[in-house]
């Protein structure tokens, strides 16, 4: 599913968070959004879902596969979410309901959008668990019994169980350690590519970005500061904001291979 964001502005209580953002995600394309904390990346994602906090004013246009999201009725948005758009969240521990089993949480979008029998639903959940590399025994467990990496695999399973055409991954690896980060990124990329879906991948980590996306936009203070192919942007950032981000990321990760990737 292709996604077009045109002139998106989001202000919360009069304070502009997102300013005039244009963004395109082609069919089957993986696009990154990178920027420091508080730059408005997540707010762009939330605007795409129509899930902005109270007091938010939004203008511009967000077309999800031809459907306008800005100003759409809540009922239509709810039908879109989970069915055509799947979301993987930053903090897997907190984004899973502590008193509900893994199987129930993965089944949630199926339950909401499809009229399946219990057996059909269970079958889909089990297939999804296998896809994200989790054992069937995990199905009956509660989130607190799982490791962070396993929790995020459950989060990915819940986001992808309905085979959505567009995936928003909102810093899906930020709460994980570096080895697990790589595994989760690779898992997400392979699943999204297998399904032929498009993905918007939000992160502040350049090494993850390079693994997950082909094109990206640098967000600074709610604006698109720079955009281009991920590899080019990392090798030769053209704007000061992008350069600063790349430099600080390089200093932080001390990864000499970053430039050549």
């Amino acid at each position: 599913m292709s996604v077009e964001v045109r002139g998106l502005n989001v202000a919360i209580d009069g304070r502009p968070i997102v300013r005039d953002v244009d963004l395109t995600v082609g069919d089957g394309e993986r696009v990154g959004l990178i920027g420091s904390s508080g730059s408005g990346k997540s707010m762009i994602a939330r605007a795409m879902l129509g899930l902005l906090p109270r007091g938010a004013e939004v203008s511009g246009s967000v077309l999800l596969g031809g459907t306008e999201v800005v100003g759409a009725a809540e009922r239509d948005l709810a039908d879109l979410r989970g069915r055509y758009v799947g979301v993987v969240f930053q903090n897997p521990g907190a984004s899973l309901n502590p008193v509900s089993t893994v199987a129930r949480q993965i089944a949630l979008p199926l339950r909401l959008h499809y009229d399946l029998t219990r057996a059909e639903r269970e079958e889909r959940v089990m297939a999804m668990l296998a896809k994200v590399g989790l054992d069937e025994s995990v199905a009956g467990r509660y989130p607190h019994e799982l490791s962070g990496g396993q929790q995020q695999r459950v989060g990915i399973a819940a986001a992808l169980v309905t085979s959505p055409r567009f995936i928003i991954a909102d810093e899906p690896t930020t709460a994980l350690d570096s080895i697990i980060q790589r595994q989760i990124t690779d898992l997400l990329v392979s699943l999204v590519d297998d399904a032929g879906a498009s993905m918007l991948f939000i992160t502040h980590d350049f090494s993850v970005l390079a693994r997950a996306t082909t094109r990206c936009a640098v967000i600074d203070d709610g604006r698109v500061a720079d955009r281009g192919a991920t590899a080019d942007l990392l090798a030769a950032p053209s704007t000061p904001e992008a350069r600063e981000l790349v430099e600080s990321a390089r200093r932080l990760t001390l990864d000499p291979t970053l430039e050549t990737r």
Binding site: R81, F89, N97, S100, R104, L108, A158
Partner: protein
């Protein structure tokens, strides 16, 4: 799957309560209470309306294990029959105050701007009305009845429940998992019933068990004031009210219903305590 999970977790909570001394006392008393209520449907030592004119205010004897009251009626029989009324009141209070409380909590955490703060203001204003006053107001159109007690208790405790459960419900409603439910396409109602309510269940359970206990006290108090159960309806409050005037002369007759009320209220409060502890254990 849901039902099995529910019954499983109920069994687990039951076992955890039973492991504590106070919990064991609470469950024993509640079990006895229910058993007596059922038995009283079929059998009481004396028929309720049988009065023994020769043994008025009698001390305990073989014929009247707890003695008789001023009309010569058997105190034990009336207390047994009363346990039924009080059980019904407690159960209905739990159900109705729970429903009202949840409705209010739902409005309080609603995403619709303004609705939440209006509900909070209304609850805060209404909560200042004492239960007795609500009961008095309800008696005007409806007359003294079990329904009035249940109504007054449900309103008062429902408001209280809403206020107590609100912080936990707010936390749950603003949590990431509710956010992810919305991202999955859930409606506000779905997110509230399937995600918020299960997560505030410990708070609800504690508060409702205390409400059940307080309803026993309220029944006794309201019946004593004449706005409780109707005349001739057996209840613990009724047994107290008919004998309390003679406490100086026949203290034993007052002691029994007082004792029963105390045991039941303590049991329900200890159940609440045990539920708090169990909740803490589970949270850990």
């Amino acid at each position: 799957m849901t039902m099995r999970n529910l019954s499983e977790s109920c069994t687990r909570v039951f076992r955890a309560i039973w492991r504590r001394g106070s919990g064991r006392y609470a469950l024993t008393v509640l079990g006895l209470w229910m058993a007596v209520a059922v038995v009283s449907l079929f059998w009481t030592p004396q028929p309720l309306l049988a009065t023994d004119g020769y043994h008025v205010w009698a001390a305990p004897s073989a014929a009247h294990p707890l003695g008789t009251d001023g009309t010569g009626a058997d105190v034990l029989s009336w207390l047994m029959a009363g346990s039924r009324t009080n059980l019904v009141i407690a159960a209905l209070t739990v159900v109705c105050s729970g429903a009202l409380g949840l409705l209010l909590v739902g409005l309080m955490v609603s995403r619709r701007a303004g609705l939440g703060s209006v509900t909070v203001a209304v609850v805060d204003a209404l909560i200042s009305i004492p239960t007795v006053l609500i009961a008095l107001l309800l008696t005007v159109p409806f007359g003294a009845s079990v329904g009035v007690i249940v109504g007054a208790c449900s309103i008062a405790y429902g408001l209280n429940l809403a206020r107590v459960a609100r912080p936990a419900a707010m936390l749950a409603a603003r949590s990431d998992y509710v956010g992810s439910a919305f991202a999955g396409g859930a409606s506000g109602w779905y997110a509230f019933t399937r995600h918020v309510v299960p997560n505030i269940a410990p708070v609800l359970a504690v508060q409702l068990s205390i409400s059940a206990g307080t309803s026993v006290l309220a029944e006794a108090g309201l019946t004593y004031l004449g706005v409780g159960v109707g005349a001739g309806v057996p209840s613990w409050g009724h047994s107290l009210a008919t004998s309390v005037k003679f406490i100086n002369v026949f203290p034993l007759t007052v002691l029994w219903p007082g004792l029963v009320v105390t045991l039941a209220v303590v049991a329900l409060n200890l159940l609440g305590d045990a539920l708090v502890r169990v909740g803490e254990e589970v949270a850990r």
